[in-house]
Amino acid sequence: MTKTINQIQDEIIKEFELFDNWEDRYEHLINLGQELPPLPKKLKTEDTLVPGCQSKVWLHISSQNATLHLQGQSDALITSGLLALILRIFNNQPPKEIQNAELYFIDRIKLAEHLSQTRANGLYSIIQRIKDYTIKC
């Protein structure tokens, strides 16, 4: 059984609670970004490039067996880290669950006060791109 979206979010929140200062939380996020497997070159296209981010973000989405499959990469480490978290939460989930998901983990891992509202980090565009895809499923 795959875990539900909220179960994974809760796990992530717990994971970040282990650190008691922002330097360590960011270090963890940056490590997650560094560990994100690189996207194969042929998937880095104009189509997979997500506009509206200061850094470059590529996101490849496909669906199989009624679940979504996501791969992505960014040229900025913090964005890569955020992307890694998003992929961990949404990969192998049914489109309907993704559509209805509320991503509360973002504001609870205490990286910044209003991380979810900062357009520059690309998080908004990444989530939008994934949700748009699920509508077509």
Binding site: Y26, I30, A120, N121
Partner: protein
């Protein structure tokens, strides 16, 4: 009185704020400067005590408001040594440039004609010309910059021809900091019978201006980058040129006489100021100019040069930092990129900016609305720090310490 940034800081209420638990270090002045209390008070005093529409009412309050607005125009004119009728209030540099493109440009830069810009222009001094080119079919020629980010005067001379109708160049680059030799640029253009527009958005808070000495045909700037309010800016144009130009927006307050068939326009600058203008903004801008004059632009420039030198020296000591823009004549703007000295992997400006913010340090990251310039240097963007009169050497040291910690975290 001697120049003391600590005393000056006390005039800026926002500098008392803490950001993420640290005292705010505001190094994003090229985006917009903070406002002294005198400017904030002037705007609020206008709404409290003098608010009425201008140029319309017979009542005392309206005359009062008109006097303040026209007084602001005189202050701006004095500031740059021009005549008040040569000062058109706009919403900012962007609108000033668009105005010239859509009225002067549409009539005078036609299909077989050319104009010249540089590769270092802000999008505000590029996109309006691309739009004009789409309308009239004129051709835009682009001057490159040297490796150091300096204006390439030889390339410029080669591009000037009998077809060139206009040269539109920034006085100071918002990305590289380069101060362009505009007096020479203007002289060469005039010898070629070509008019010149200068984008002064970055220069006005740092450099003394004298339109009679410079001899620019158009000079554009924004209030908010020189300690004034947002939403107010200036188009300076030589009287004889503005007089020949047609208005580009129609409405109230620009008209001598209107019938349903036709309208007779007022003289400049009024024919360009259709509708109720930003009265409070103009008054705030005049107050900002008073602040600059009282503080002394010479002293400000001296102090900012010291900041620039110190920051440049300290940044150069850090392994993996590359400064973009090394012109001899520079304003207080410093762009840089970073890479991991061990793996030579580049470190993204966005990552650096995000982590600096955690220390309360505000910088700009990205392409700074100069995408062609980033392509030219083959970089995705830079981290940019830019200084104002209230910044201190200690703040630079705080920034350098934070930057070193962040680079370690990102390497």
């Amino acid at each position: 009185m001697t120049f003391d940034p600590k005393t000056i800081r006390q005039k800026f209420p926002i500098l008392e704020r803490k950001m993420n638990g640290h005292p705010l270090v505001y190094f994003d002045n090229a985006s917009t400067t903070q406002k002294p209390l005198s400017v904030i008070n002037a705007v609020s005093d206008y709404y409290k005590n003098h608010n009425a529409n201008v140029h319309r009412g017979v009542h005392t309050l309206s005359q009062n408001s008109t006097d303040l607005y026209e007084g602001a125009r005189k202050t701006v004119a004095n500031f740059i040594n021009a005549d008040p009728k040569e000062i058109v209030f706009t919403s900012g540099t962007t609108e000033a440039i668009n105005l010239v493109a859509m009225t002067f440009g549409r009539r005078n830069i036609l299909k077989e004609d050319e104009m010249i810009i540089s590769v270092a222009e802000h999008h505000s001094n590029l996109v309006p010309w691309q739009m004009l080119s789409a309308l009239t079919g004129m051709t835009i020629r682009v001057i490159p910059v040297t490796d150091k980010g300096e204006f390439d005067i030889e390339a410029y001379k080669n591009l000037l021809s009998e077809k060139t109708r206009l040269v539109a160049i920034t006085h100071m680059s918002n990305t590289l900091g380069t101060i362009n030799p505009i007096k020479e640029i203007i002289k060469l253009a005039h010898e070629n019978n070509t008019l010149v527009l200068i984008d002064g958005a970055q220069a006005t808070p740092h450099i003394n201006l004298d339109m009679q000495d410079l001899n620019a045909d158009f000079y554009c700037f924004s209030g908010h980058k020189m300690y004034g309010p947002t939403g107010i800016g200036v188009l300076y144009g030589k009287d004889e040129i503005l007089s020949e130009m047609i208005p580009y927006k129609g409405g109230g307050d620009m008209i001598e006489r209107v019938t349903l068939e036709r309208s007779d326009y007022k003289n400049s600058p009024y024919k360009f100021e259709a509708g109720t203008p930003n009265i409070a903004g103009a008054i705030g801008l005049a107050e900002a100019i008073k602040f600059l004059q009282e503080t002394s632009l010479q002293e400000i420039q001296k102090h900012e040069n010291e900041l620039l030198e110190h920051a440049t020296k300290e940044l150069q000591k850090i392994e993996g930092i590359r400064i973009i823009g090394e012109a001899k004549n520079k304003g207080p703007v410093l762009s840089f990129t970073a890479h991991n000295p061990k793996t030579s992997a580049s470190i993204h400006p966005y990552d650096i900016g995000t982590l600096l913010d955690k220390y309360g340090i505000a910088v700009r990251t990205g392409q700074h609305c100069t995408e062609p310039l980033m392509d030219y240097f083959k970089i995705p963007g830079t981290v940019r720090i830019s200084f104002a009169c209230y910044n201190t050497l200690e703040e630079i040291d705080t920034f350098i310490e934070a930057l070193k910690k962040n680079l370690a975290l990102l390497s």
